[in-house]
Subunit: 482 residues, 2 copies
């Protein structure tokens, strides 16, 4: 990106390029150089690059009398003697592959702007234009200084551009440093060492982390960056739903492979922002690192639950009714369809594919259950009832009976088209992100909770599925054999 | 691990093996089978495996009259009719590569114990022995059911074993579900959908995430799993120090490559636990996922800072003094030494290597600054002064002058041995995790803050290093050329 800034502003220094170079003279003024890519993070190449003869391929900017970038500094009115830092050309950040989600100290566009709008004071121009040209005066917090002040330029670095695109994509979901305490208690958003959140009175923080890894949790061919943003955030928020918590914010830790560029970052940010906004939560920061494999999105979420009302797994008791929300097995139906090369837009399968790629955390249900204040056990169904139900039961020290005929599976024609049965899909299907609840029989119909069985004494974690279980011999299982 | 359980208990069913197999009969009782490894998380293979003739290589356990594992169920006294779930053999979790940091529903050792100590009730035996034989009655929260109840067995799965080892390694730093609110406000530790923390009155949450990726941030050859645990947690906690926050807890999101086994998980957990304990913080959960590349540790940390006292980057003002804590450039010296093939134990370099591998977050200093309540700007130095100082300045809209001779670099003989100067190491060295502070001149000597320069008006982010800068021509920079 160094080259691009320079190209845009002064072709004479195109050779500034990407390779560190020893400075012949090092007196005053330091220019942080491009990093050697094979150095460890935090120790990437930095070298002085100063006015005076150098043994590299170019004469220093100051010597060339370059005015477009990095020439005569202009002091800010009232800030002290103008030219106090005269002669220095400021700092170019080294390329780095790990960068907190914070705005770029100096954006490329900003550096260009400064070459044109020389007159404006640095401080008044700290309002940055977003990549889409949107005025975002709030994006002026830590580490975002806006267009370059004369006498100083910063080359934007690629990862910082990715961060900018991500934040821009997230749009209004991106809580800025200058925001006051909001609904989720956000005091400070991206750009500092940590985000700050003010706890609502009488509430406890619920805090979780969830990973989505290319080739493990999703396939890039099916899951666009925007869809991945929605999916990763949706899945993470589901953990808060399962605790009865109201989401406040998220931190993203991204691992980006080669080829993940500005457009992808923008699209990912868009999906993240959409999903967070829908939950009235904010993107509060994160980390972008190079991935030596595929794309990875780690989403850490924080929410607030009324003190003492968190919905734990270990509270099921013998005699409880067992409920699930919504429809189970839809995401699996979508996966099977895609695995078989099906068209995601095919009408019969579209809802299933949508569930797979865009899970809807049951936040309202979770909050409702927490507000009721009754004893319930609750968890979200990320791995499928067959695997998650035993976890809830084991945590509670109980067993359960499930009525296969009550399992709320996908429509019969959808299941049939996949060679499955609704019950089998409902039993083994993962990634539905519905809630599993054990509690009073009176919960039937609370939001869309449906009873599927009951809690019984027995070996902790054991499940008996009563009645004929129609899925076990279905051909649909064949494809799962290695 | 399935095979290992079975081998230990009954050689007759060795062929149970690792491959899913269709059951010929599927009526009651479900056994979750080993997953096909190439399926997406949340959709791994699950199939019924029940008493009756099967087309696989083995006769079902019940038919063989096997008593060691999974035979006659025994009801718990007072829990209802014995045999209510009779005939079912319980659940084996499918192998999965993504697992929240929660204890295994049924541990391998537990399953063996159950074969020997038939008489104990399942409930009373939910106290799990840690892998080291330590009684840890608190490790009995969600999802940890202890030794298998007769009539039910669970095969431990590899990732869940890794989680167990990690938690065991973390030891007392691993806050358990049954813990009451502690110093950090921990209400609920690992094992549920989310951790719960009760905010101390009048405090704001500080929340951050930090990644350590093999080949990007560390090299496995230099950084043992235990050291990585210490380093990753130390670096993450440094963000809290930089905000003036007192750490409460951490969530770990691990990506584990092939070859990362129980010993490595235990060692990583040990390092994580040591570092968290030293900060009086708790391991509260996380996520273990398969990594298609190297090892990855993402650490999300949460702490509490008195409301309104958070140490932001954007609060430096012209006239402020500029301070750093401790010694800068030590970690870089350690890195250079290791990169040159040096012995990490070599006396001259040992402190430098220790700093590289085991950063010490300046938590006490951060808390002190927050408690003083004065206006200061603060950030931690993860990428080196040359890159981090401009960030703080840009966030504050100011510039700075730094006196190279005041930079608190490593000892001269250490620098000399590396062909460097102390000042150059101090200026460019990353990963020291010291604090950079701008504020009143009276902060000099607060903890170990030392003045290195002052804040001046000028282009936001610009730095002038006054005096001869001795490092710029040093040969030491040569090796950074690509």
């Amino acid at each position: 990106m160094v080259a691009r800034v320079v190209e845009g502003d002064d072709p004479r220094v195109l050779q500034l390029g990407h390779r560190p170079r020893l400075a012949a003279e090092a007196r005053e003024g330091l220019l942080v150089e491009e990093a050697a890519a094979d150095h460890l993070e935090g120790h990437e190449a930095t070298q002085a690059d100063v006015p005076g003869p150098v043994d590299g391929a170019h004469a220093p900017l100051a010597e060339q009398g370059l005015e477009g970038v990095g020439a005569q500094p202009t002091g800010q009115p009232g800030d002290g003697p103008s030219g106090e830092v005269g002669g220095l050309r400021g700092l170019r950040s080294a390329r780095r592959f790990d960068h907190r989600l914070q705005a770029t100290p100096q954006r490329t566009a900003g550096a260009r702007d400064s070459a044109r709008s020389r007159g404006s004071s640095a401080r008044s121009s700290r309002r940055c234009r977003g990549p889409a040209g949107r005025q975002s005066p709030r994006r002026t917090g830590a580490d975002r200084a806006g267009p370059a002040a004369p006498g100083c330029y910063h080359a934007a670095v690629r990862e910082e551009e990715l961060v900018d695109e991500l934040l821009a994509g997230a749009g209004d979901a991106c809580a800025q440093a200058s925001d006051g305490p909001g609904g989720g208690g956000v005091v400070l958003g991206p750009g500092d060492d940590a985000a700050l959140l003010a706890p609502p009175a009488g509430h406890t923080a619920a805090w979780s982390v969830d990973d989505h890894i290319e080739g493990v949790h999703f396939r890039a061919a099916w899951c666009s960056p925007r869809a991945l943003g929605r999916k990763a955030v949706g899945a993470a928020l589901s953990d808060l739903a399962a605790m009865g918590a109201r989401p406040a914010g998220a931190l993203l830790a991204l691992g980006v492979p080669k080829g993940f560029g500005r457009n992808e970052a923008r699209a990912l940010g868009l999906g993240v922002g959409e999903k967070l906004s829908a939950a009235r939560a904010a993107l509060l920061g994160g980390n972008v690192a190079r991935s030596t494999a595929g794309l990875r999105v780690s989403v850490s979420v924080l929410g607030w639950v009324p003190a003492g009302r968190g919905l734990l797994r270990g509270r099921a008791r013998t005699g409880d009714a067992l409920f699930v929300s919504g429809t189970l097995g839809l995401a699996r139906a979508g996966l099977l369809h895609l695995e078989r090369g099906g068209d995601p837009r095919e009408e019969l399968f579209a809802p299933a594919v949508a569930r797979l790629l865009d899970p809807e955390p049951r936040l309202a249900l979770g909050e409702t259950l927490a507000a009721r204040g009754e004893r319930v056990a609750c968890m979200d169904l990320s791995d499928g009832l067959a695997r998650d139900l035993p976890r809830l039961l084991a945590a509670s020290g109980v067993a359960a009976r499930v009525d296969a005929e009550r399992l709320p599976g996908p429509p019969a024609d959808l299941a049939r088209a996949l060679g499955e049965t609704p019950a089998a899909l409902a039993w083994v299907g993962g990634e539905d992100y519905e809630l599993l609840v054990a509690g009073s029989h009176e919960l039937e119909g609370c939001n869309d909770l449906r009873r599927i069985g009951c809690v019984v004494p027995g070996p902790p974690g054991a499940v008996r599925v009563s009645g004929e279980f129609p899925g076990a011999r279905a051909k649909g299982f064949d494809h799962l054999a290695p």
